[in-house]
Every structure is written in C-alpha cells, then in structure tokens.
Symmetry: C2
Subunit: 318 residues, 2 copies
Amino acid sequence: MNLKTVALAGGVGGAKLAHGLAQILPPENLTIIVNTGDDFEHLGLYISPDLDTVCYTLAGLANPVTGWGRIDESWNAAENIAKLGGQTWFRLGDRDLGTHLERSRRLQKGDSLSSITRDFCKVWGVEHRIIPMTDDPMPTIVNTVEMGELPFQEYFVHQRCEPTVKGFRFEGAESARPAMGVEAAINDADAVVICPSNPWVSIDPILAVTKLKSTCGIESTSKKKPIIALSPIIDGEAVKGPAAKMYKELGIQPSALAVAKHYKGLLDGFIFDQIDAEFETEIQNLGIKTMLIDSLMKDIKGRERVAKDVLKLLNTLL
Amino acid sequence: MNLKTVALAGGVGGAKLAHGLAQILPPENLTIIVNTGDDFEHLGLYISPDLDTVCYTLAGLANPVTGWGRIDESWNAAENIAKLGGQTWFRLGDRDLGTHLERSRRLQKGDSLSSITRDFCKVWGVEHRIIPMTDDPMPTIVNTVEMGELPFQEYFVHQRCEPTVKGFRFEGAESARPAMGVEAAINDADAVVICPSNPWVSIDPILAVTKLKSTCGIESTSKKKPIIALSPIIDGEAVKGPAAKMYKELGIQPSALAVAKHYKGLLDGFIFDQIDAEFETEIQNLGIKTMLIDSLMKDIKGRERVAKDVLKLLNTLL
C-alpha cells in the first residue's frame, strides 16, 4: 500500500487497529501517535500505559487477557510488595517492571520519551514508527462529582472509573509541544486515522497537542487531507473502558452518532458497526462519509479485516 | 540464654553467624547491627545489600548459592532490562525488586531505613531485632591505585574488586548518627560480637558510627563489657569477598593475626580457625583471650555450632 497513514491511538482498542494497519502497511507508510495523557509516576517509576500497550501489541508481547501488561508475565515483585504492605492498586508484572525501570533511568539521565520509545521498539522488533504525542508532561485530569479533580490513573485504576465525570482537563496542553516526528508524520501523511479509542481521554489529548485541525489544513480548505475515525462505541457500549459511562455522565446518549458528533468538523469518513445502522443517515447529514462493518476486533484476523476496511474508505476519500 | 548480645554484621559471613546466634538466643537477647556503608542507589532504587542479606538470611529467604538476593527468584525484569540495553552489572531479581521498590517508596515519603527494616522483618517473621547502623547516608568510598576513589558497589560489583586498594573513607561518618535503638542496644548488652565480616568495609563503618570504643566504656576502664570477634580470614584467605586481597594491597599479610591486630584495643576475645593455630601465642600476647575452632559455617548446623562457641567464650569473659 502506498498510502502514507498516521494513526492516533490510545490503549487497547487503538492498539488493535494500529496492529491491523501494521499487518497491511509497510513501516514507512504508517506512523502511530500515542496518547501520553495517562502517563504517571508510580513507585518512583515513569509509567506510560497507552504507549506500552501499543508497543507491546505491535511487538506481539501484549497480554491478550488483561489488555495491559505483558504475555508470559510473572508477578513476584508485586507479590512481595503486597506482603510488605505496599500499594497494590496498580500491579506491575516483573517483565513490565524492566521496561519501566530502564525507561525511568533513561528519562532521569535526560533522554526523551520519544527517543527511548524508538530504541525500545527496535529491540522489540517493531518496525512501524510509534511516537508518544509529546515528550512534555501533559497529564489528563478527570473532574468528578464525588472527588473533585483526579489524575487519570487515580480515576481509572484506583477508583475503577466509579466517580461521576463532570469534565476533563489536559494540564500543560498550552505549552506542550508535539514530540519530534509527530508534526512531520502528519504533514507527510496522505490520511489520518483516529483509532477506536476513548474520544475524551485518549484521542482529545492527541488532538489538543498536535493541533490537528490546523496541522491538517482543515482551516485552510485547500490543503485538506482525509481524516476518518472508527467508533469505539458499539450498540451503545464501549468495547472496553469507560467511554460510554463518560458520555452518559456528561449528559450524552453514548452511540456511534455521539462519537461522530464528538469529532464534528474534523471527520471526512466514519466507520461504525452495522448493528448501529440506525445512525447512518444522521451521521451522513453531518457531511461525513459512512461505512458500516463488523467492527469488533476479536482476534488478529479481525484487526487486519477492520484495517482493510479503513484503507478502503480512505481510498474513496483521496 | 540470658546473655544480652549485640552482633555487628556485614553481608554473608556476618549473616551466617547472626543466624546461628538467632537459633540460640531469644529475640530479646540479640540485636544485630548491620553495615549500611555499601548502600547505594541503582535504577533509582535504594539498595542496602548487607541489610538485605542479614534480613533474608534470618527470614530463611536468602539465596544459599549466590550469597545475595533471594531463594526461588525469577529474573524477568533484569532480563528485559538487559534486552533494552540497560545496566546489567548489578542484577536484581524480581522478588528482591519488590523489596527495593517498596523500601524506596517509603524512604521517599520520609520513613527511616530502621523503621522500614523493622516493618519488613515483622512481615518476614524475623523476631530478632535487625537495625541498620545509621539512618543517615554514610557511603564507603574505596580509594584505588588505578581508578582513584570509587563508591563501594562500583568497586565491589562493577569492577569486581579488581582495582588495587589504597585506603577507605566513610563519607559523612562525622555527622552520621547511629539509628534509633543502636546505642540503647549496645548500652543494654552484656557483650558485643563482631561477626566474621570484612574488617575494612563491613565492620569499620559500624565501629565508626557507633563510636564503639567510647560506647562500650573501653576508654573508662570501669564499665567495660566484653567484645569478641571472629576471624573472616581462614588460612590466609577470606571465606568470601575481598578482605584478604585488601590486606595484601595495604601491605599486610592476611591472617587471623592481622584481623586480631586490626581490632587491637577493642577485643577481649578472638575466635579463629584451628588451621591458624600458629598465630595463637602472638594473639594472646596482644592481651586477647583466644579460642580455636572449626570456624567454617558450611550449613545451618555449622552456624549454630559456631554461635555456641561464641557464647562459650563470652561466658568466660563476663
């Protein structure tokens, strides 16, 4: 495929589509830009959950059951920490700990997250380019009814997404710069794919730091390159994670339509599940080209199948 | 046994005798004060090698083969770090990592090394009191011919004790205070046992920070309590570690006699191996009571046997 593509991805859903695209597109034609708004410090280590999920998935090292962490993992460090009375709400596997320890050491000595990611991917045999959206701190803060503002992992893992969401804030978004290679990848790309990740907390941070609307020339009509998205909401539910719950708590009925509206003004095409056919006309009325598919990526073959649909839709928009 | 004893210990040899003493003495009658001059930061974690060796040994968690780290250990974090191009000269096992992560977290939030050690020992079922010599930083610096001054672990692990030793310096010894409980344990004790650890880098730091000579009333002849030592040198060689090499490089023939002389002015009794009987008279001429035994502690029974000899000699000195 000669289509130069940039994929924007959060965690599990994003990683699956990115993996599918990587099966089809050669390394020089796919760059994956990953959300780092979930990044946080735990046990003195720098943890980048979405970045690790995407890297581990493309490397074939991801744990297919949990959706996070590594396959063939052992839990001896975490078990000892638990015995010693330490924190257990965010469990780190032993192999995964190696990643965090080495990344933290390199960050400490001044290397950038993006350069470390490039080096790690090389070791893991990942040939497609994976870039964190920014090397600057830009933590996602979740504003909740019950507990006020919470750092993302505090909300997501520690509080199990239970507090009611009022809104989100991307701390430092004004001053954070896209990581080296992000702007060039978008400028070079023929098209941008927004993966089926959480619009509020996985994709919105990437849109904010990349200033995607102006980067893609949406505001200057002449230079426009197609942008398409996949709905992470199927039949009113998120495949994984709190996206549907967030929509509800923000007073919006969660649906493929709600996702399309979320990205309004940005999208040229939208792919969603055939089970949500009822929304097709309304989405088309937003000026967005639609494609209905079986959008659930149950296995590696499913990822490749959906990725092929993505490229099919993109080709009609070029 | 009603004898209140304080044992001063470094790593493996010290841990063995401390373990032997713990088989015989009830918890209220044995306090083990451990060298922290080897402590260092690695991968952002606070590592306390001698303290861990003593705690793990008394807990039955020590690796009997390596002399450091834990039994039933896995190495998945270290293996990943090595793959990622990280530092491999100081390998940390997965279970062991749990200890360092949780200890580092607690130090970070302001808990003292001694209080953390107390809590960890409780979890590990260690009833005898183990106290780090100080909660203050007091790193041992090794002065070498080839490389100048090296932090201890850099000399010991990274450089494999290869550089030629010129001398030692205990940084911060003037201002470091003994950890809570150290002075009280020495004051309450009927006797002090210097374990068969490296005199230069395991015991000397403890002597420096506890100011043992004045604490034990050696300088005021009235309050004197017996102090005995075991030779870590047998037949001119250290059972483990670089003690003999250090003696040679400092121009001293390594022997039980050299060890006795090292502690001159401090010792009332000295236990050394029967293979070194030739030195008996000369050691006695230093005003030190001698006991010749089979001093090698090959197994747990050997530890208990040597500990019994220690108490026998102490009883003749009270």
